[in-house]
């Protein structure tokens, strides 16, 4: 039974991977088709520049192509031709908001608000966008989440409270390129109770300036950082450590679809039970692909080397993951916004004790479904299947989790 489940889930993951590999081709074809349609509409619009139907068609196609600048240009003209249409001005404000032009968005939102005659739904939207534009225009921006829930393990047969939290603070350092100092604190904890060894707590603080390397608003960003981490577990304290690392994180959105990223760090950790220290080097390198604004696919490779007296540990891994957001619309009894995700992760670890070596591989895959019951509060269900193979001896575990969280 367990074997057939494993085969089924493996097949699902393989299918997901195939979708990931073919998604760029499909998306590229769709994009080319949309661009052809838009060019045809533009040709007609060029001949009849004040035709409202053509203007809206052109703006809609531009939005589908993620070209919000073209949508803004058309809506500017629409608002110029139909200045009493406050709904059109609201859409113009949203187009500028999407482009990160928060000052211009706020100008139009204020005009919409002052125009009168808005429906309650439009008034609520204006208030939402105004609040967000106002917050993003300031020198300090905070984002993050807090989540708590319960997790169950199948084989180990324990369950416990799981919590996670993250706070990111972006401080605008001023200057012509709006470089930011980014500080992130993250914490997660699993507490299955005193009769289990599985309790874990980890906290991380990472801070450093984030520079725009080419001076472009959306060019490559580089963050040199210092990171402190503390890790505690219940299994006799073997794994408890504190660490300090220096690193560089990089990401570069090459175009609307592809983003490359990398993270390199070197550090030293102190094992608390023995005061022993080990040095570590971590690296990850990856690509992210967005066939649409709602869908994200990521693939990454990672390396980790740990060196301590008498033990060298080398881990090499690969991970692919996908997430898709969707909107159910005004469905009764069901939340509107959803996010479905999945991942596949495989790694191989070699432990060199000097007088003998040990190797094991781990394979994990899983899925998640998140429903936003409000704009910020979500409920999430997750399931993961993992397998460890140590020289022909195989261990498996499944973990299920249910969480409620607040995202801000």
């Amino acid at each position: 039974m367990a074997g057939s489940t494993f085969r089924l889930t493996s097949a699902c993951v393989a299918l997901g991977l195939c979708c990931m590999l073919t998604a760029p081709i499909t998306a590229s074809a769709q994009s080319a088709d949309l661009e052809t349609q838009r060019q045809a509409v533009f040709t007609r619009l060029f001949a009849s520049p004040a035709d409202p139907d053509l203007m809206l068609q052109y703006a809609r196609l531009s939005v589908q192509l993620r070209d919000f600048e073209a949508a803004a240009a058309t809506l500017e003209r629409y608002v110029d031709l139909y200045p009493a249409d406050a709904g059109a001005r609201l859409e113009l404000a949203i187009a500028y908001f999407s482009l990160g032009a928060y000052e211009v968005a706020e100008y139009h939102l204020a005009a919409v608000q002052a125009s009168g005659g808005l429906s309650p739904d439009q008034a609520a939207r204006v208030a939402d966008y105004q609040g967000e534009a106002d917050a993003r225009g300031g020198p300090n921006q905070f984002s993050g989440h807090v989540a708590i829930g319960r997790a169950w393990t199948d084989e180990a047969d324990d369950s416990g409270t799981f919590g996670s939290a993250r706070l990111e603070w972006r401080f605008d350092m001023g200057g012509r390129n709006a470089d930011e100092w980014v500080t992130e604190f993250a914490y997660s904890s699993y507490m299955p109770g005193e009769f289990s060894f599985n309790g874990r707590q980890v906290a991380r603080l990472r801070t450093g300036p984030e520079f725009r390397l080419t001076g472009d608003a959306y060019g490559p960003r580089l963050q040199p950082y210092v990171e402190a981490e503390t890790f505690r577990d219940d299994s006799f304290g073997f794994g408890d450590y504190n660490s300090l690392a220096f690193g560089i994180a990089y990401q570069n959105p090459h175009n609307a679809y592809w983003t490359s990223f990398a993270d390199f760090q070197v550090g030293r950790a102190e094992v608390l039970i023995s005061d022993a220290e080990f040095d570590f080097r971590d690296a990850s390198l990856g690509l992210s692909y967005r066939p649409s604004r709602e869908t994200r696919l990521r693939g990454s490779l990672r390396w980790r080397d740990e060196q301590s007296p008498g033990l060298d540990v080398r881990t090499r891994g690969v991970r692919v993951e996908a997430a898709h957001m969707f909107d159910l619309g005004q469905a009764e009894m069901l939340p509107r916004q959803w996010e479905v995700g999945g991942f596949f992760d495989s790694s191989r670890t070699e432990e060199d004790f000097g007088f003998f070596t040990d190797e094991f591989t781990e394979v994990a895959f899983g899925g998640s479904l998140r429903a936003f019951v409000t704009d910020h509060v979500f409920i999430e269900a997750r399931a993961t299947d993992m397998e460890r193979d140590t020289g022909g001896f195989t261990q498996r575990e499944r973990v299920y989790a249910l969480q409620i969280g607040w995202e801000f």
Binding site: P49, F68, T153, R176, F238, A249, Y257, R290
Partner: protein, 268 residues
């Protein structure tokens, strides 16, 4: 005498015809997409004419708005220019290969204020707005440019980068709302000044009803969503946060098996 007069009349008529024919024969680069009836255009070698909705614009044409007039011009590469009252521009560079999406676009701003919203040509190389005191480069971008009383001000609205060049010295900004003048980067635009410039270019917003055209622009852009560039690029703000989801617990459990096995072994 009569012959000389006939010749003069003929020459005048020929000249007038040429002035009327030149705009028709010259290659169209844009069109008037909206305007108030006082917009005037002077094509190269031609007479000044009134530019109405849909009038073809040609290269090197001088376009001037009156003290009360505004206009929006749309170009073949899908760029648009909005002109404030009392603005004079010269469409002095426009080369566009629609098949390759390459070429260049350049405008001279003699006086007044404009908003440039980029199209295909300014995606990869800057569109230029040249004023009597500076040259503005707008790449992948939307920008506001003013020239009045011998002073140039440029405001970066969206896109990749905005630069100003004066006497060979260049200064750039990628901060949205960043202001450039002849002396370089001058900080972020104040809401009051921005409202003044937008009011100048677009006129004061009118009171109105809440009906909307429904372009769908709000769909993929809820208030909580991060910004996107004019080319559709966006940053992935949770790229390095994977260690702190519940998946991290699952990774730990991999280690747990080992410890538990050893613990049980030690009691066997």
């Amino acid at each position: 005498m009569t012959g000389r007069m006939t010749l003069r009349v003929f020459a005048t008529a020929l000249g007038l015809s040429a002035a009327l024919i030149v705009p028709a024969m010259a290659q169209q680069i844009g069109t008037v997409a909206s305007s108030e009836p006082t917009l005037r255009g002077t094509p190269p070698g031609g007479a000044t004419r009134t530019l109405g909705l849909g009038t073809a614009l040609v290269r090197d044409e001088t376009v001037a708005s009156s003290a009360t007039g505004r206009a929006q011009l749309m170009f073949l590469d899908q760029s648009t220019l909005s002109l404030a009252p009392n603005t004079t521009i010269v469409l002095d560079r426009f080369v566009f290969d629609p098949d390759r999406g390459t070429g260049e676009i350049g405008v001279g701003l003699t006086q007044g204020a404009l908003r440039f919203i980029g199209g295909t040509l300014s995606r990869n190389q800057p569109a230029t707005v040249t004023t009597p005191t500076a040259s503005i480069g707008i790449r992948g971008s939307t920008a506001l440019v003013l020239h009045n009383n011998g002073r140039t001000i440029a405001i970066f609205i969206a896109g990749s980068q905005l630069c100003i060049q004066v006497d060979g010295q260049q200064s750039c900004t990628s901060r949205q709302g960043g202001v450039l003048t002849e002396t370089g980067y001058a900080g972020q635009v104040s809401p009051e000044f921005l409202a003044f410039v937008l009011g100048l270019i677009d006129g004061a917003p009118l009171p109105g009803a809440g009906a909307g055209p429904g372009t769908g622009v709000g769909g993929p852009n809820p208030p909580g969503r991060g910004p996107v560039s004019t080319l559709g690029e966006e940053f992935d703000f949770d790229l390095f946060d994977d260690d702190f989801t519940i998946d991290d617990v699952f990774e730990w459990l991999g280690e747990i098996f080992f410890y538990e096995e050893c613990f049980e072994c030690s009691f066997d």
